[in-house]
């Protein structure tokens, strides 16, 4: 809820001040990359926020018009560089939709394992960095300690730690090495109890609740109107998750998996695990809820990886071969959105029949999530702006492409 002048937290409501323009960024540590916000402030109260983006624009879409789809995979890594695997998956599925290509069952389950591990890694960074935004350093270190182990696993599978290019059109570049699944299982076993620690450190921490509960409230209507997706949309109580509601080519990956969409329904979140209670101060759609949804999604992802590993083990055959590097594309166009950790990542491919797309377009989830910031920051305190920006969990590489 926007802070009102008669709010007891505002101590200077009777002090007459001049309006001032404050530049936050592009190098401000809490803007998650190179985001510049111009704040129009009246004392401590922000009356207007104007975001300036584009500092990391690398013309990814123009490059996509000059490369074959498989050659463009490494560029998708560099969009959301905290969830490279999920970006690869989004583009690979879009091209497969155009090619009408189905991957083998084993590859499908391996993609779920990799995609959900990517989600855990991404949400861990989101959580740690959010702690940093609010002035606490330790959660960041705890989060990176665990994320490092996921990166080790990814490195073992594909050789890279950040820009994987592992999931590719037609499958994956290689199968996971022998013994990988056991290591992955051991990691999950060890991660699960640590989530409780994170909850103690942040989710249920009194200071954390004071900083986030009731701050930057985003109503469901506004979230829908601005095209917000992912945890931002679900944090406002809108029941939508493309893993359940998306197009068939994507949902069939999760066919038969048991999972509940993390969203507050009828006044409560899913009860399949022992989650910490929602504090009284929290309002649906505020920073705390967005953070909470992410934390719960980590637990959900652990469940999904476990289920996927069982299925991967029991499915026959191999992971198949990726399509040729210069595979001819049928003339036509396809658009597909997938549920990446930050929201719905959409790719659009238009082909004229050659092996190079006529047009490659990336619809960024953070781009839409950020576009709502001037609405939810209006009337908040300057100190709350980092809290709101952090709760949107943006990655500038994806916004600017």
């Amino acid at each position: 809820m926007a802070t009102q002048v008669n709010d007891p937290r505002v101590v200077e409501f009777d002090v007459r001040t001049d309006e001032m323009l404050v530049n936050m960024g592009p190098q401000h540590p809490s803007t998650h990359g190179v985001l510049r916000l111009v704040l129009r402030t009246d004392g401590e109260i922000v009356s207007e926020v104007v975001p300036h983006i584009g500092y990391l624009h690398r013309c990814a879409e123009k490059i996509g018009e000059n490369l074959t789809p498989r050659q463009w995979i490494p560029y998708t890594d560099r969009m959301d560089y905290l969830a490279g695997m999920n970006m690869n998956l989004g583009w690979a599925l879009t091209v497969e939709k155009l090619l009408n290509h189905t991957v083998t069952e084993k590859a499908r389950h391996l993609r779920v394992i990799i995609g959900e591990m990517g989600r855990i890694a991404s949400h861990l960074v989101g959580m740690g960095a959010y702690g940093l935004d609010l002035g606490t350093f330790s959660p960041f270190l705890y989060a990176f300690r665990e994320r490092e182990k996921i990166l080790d696993l990814f490195e073992e599978a594909c050789g890279a730690r950040l820009t994987y290019s592992y999931i590719t059109v037609g499958g994956l570049t290689a199968d996971v090495p022998a013994g990988w699944l056991e290591k992955c299982e051991a990691f999950l076993e060890q991660l699960e109890p640590i989530i409780q620690e994170y909850h103690t450190l942040l989710t249920t921490n009194a200071i954390f609740i004071k900083r986030t509960a009731g701050i930057g409230v985003l109503s469901p209507e506004m979230a829908i109107d601005y095209g917000c997706t992912g945890p931002v949309l679900r944090g406002s109580g809108v029941d939508q998750d493309l893993r359940r509601d998306g197009e068939e080519i994507y949902t069939e990956m999760y066919d038969g998996y048991a999972f509940e969409v993390i969203v507050e329904k009828e006044g409560h979140y899913p009860k399949d695990h022992d989650y910490p209670p929602v504090p009284e101060e929290a309002v649906l759609g505020d920073c705390w809820h967005r953070f909470y949804v992410r934390m719960l999604e980590v637990v959900q992802a652990i469940d999904l990886v476990r289920q996927a590993m069982d299925r991967y083990r029991s499915s026959a055959g191999d992971i198949g071969e990726p399509v040729k590097l210069t595979q001819k594309l049928p003339a036509g166009e396809a658009y597909l959105e997938t549920e990446s950790p930050r929201g719905q990542m959409g790719f659009y491919i238009v082909s004229d029949g050659s092996s190079i797309p006529w047009r490659a377009r990336a619809r960024s989830s953070c781009f839409c999530n950020l576009s709502v910031i001037h609405e939810i920051c209006r009337g908040c305190l300057i100190a709350d702006v980092p809290a709101v920006v952090g709760s949107l969990d943006i990655v500038m590489g994806e916004i600017d492409r």
Binding site: I53, G54, H57, C59, E61, K62, E65, K97, L98, M222, I224, D225, Y226, G227, C228, V238, Q240, D245, E247, G332, E333, A334, Y335, E337, Q344, G346, Y348, V350, D352, W358, R359, R361, R363, F367, C368, S371, D400, R401
Partner: protein, 176 residues
């Protein structure tokens, strides 16, 4: 509702506003006349059984072949398409709208083609339209603040046009 019924319904309501359909495409699309775009969008958003309340993406595709040899072989006339990907939250279904535009307004090179802005229907369109204007060069009439968003404000040209040429120099930085 089948695709054909849906199109008939729209045609009955908007007549000439619906200019064409392609139901065989992977993502079936409906072509809308630029003048009826806002009206059609509002109808699609507000109608009780449709409720396309989310705008996922606006993209522009430039159909132009700069190479004269290849240009002789292509099957289409040079034009620009603005593609709207819509999503209905209550029905969990998607819809694609297309608007066909000339590459330049009145055939005069440098004059951007115009299409009405849908930012009054979906607020999310605001940034998407700024991006399309910036990269593909489409003038969205009625947009609250049509300004470059990804490129610097003094950038010249629209990079996703097929005949775009990289500048040789920008503020002392060498290009190409």
């Amino acid at each position: 509702m089948s695709g054909q019924d849906f199109v008939e319904r729209l045609k009955k309501r908007f007549g000439e506003g619906i200019q064409g359909v392609n139901l065989e495409a992977i993502d079936p699309w409906i072509e809308v006349a630029p003048d009826s775009l806002v009206e059609v969008s509002r109808y699609l958003r507000d109608e009780a059984d449709l409720r396309f309340n989310m705008l996922n993406c606006i993209s522009a595709v430039d159909y132009f072949e700069p190479d004269p040899k290849k240009a002789a072989k292509v099957k289409w006339e040079p034009h620009l398409e603005v593609v709207y990907h819509l999503w209905s939250l209550p029905n969990k279904s998607s819809l694609v709208l297309k608007v066909m535009l000339p590459r330049w307004k009145d055939g005069q090179e440098g004059e951007l083609p115009e299409v009405p802005s849908v930012a009054s229907v979906w607020s999310g369109a605001d940034w998407h339209e700024r991006e399309v204007y910036d990269l593909s060069g489409v003038q969205f009439t009625g947009h609250p603040f049509l300004w470059r968003i990804l490129c610097p404000e003094d950038w010249e040209g629209h990079p996703l046009r097929k005949d775009y040429e990289m500048p040789l120099e920008y503020h002392g930085i060498r290009g190409k």
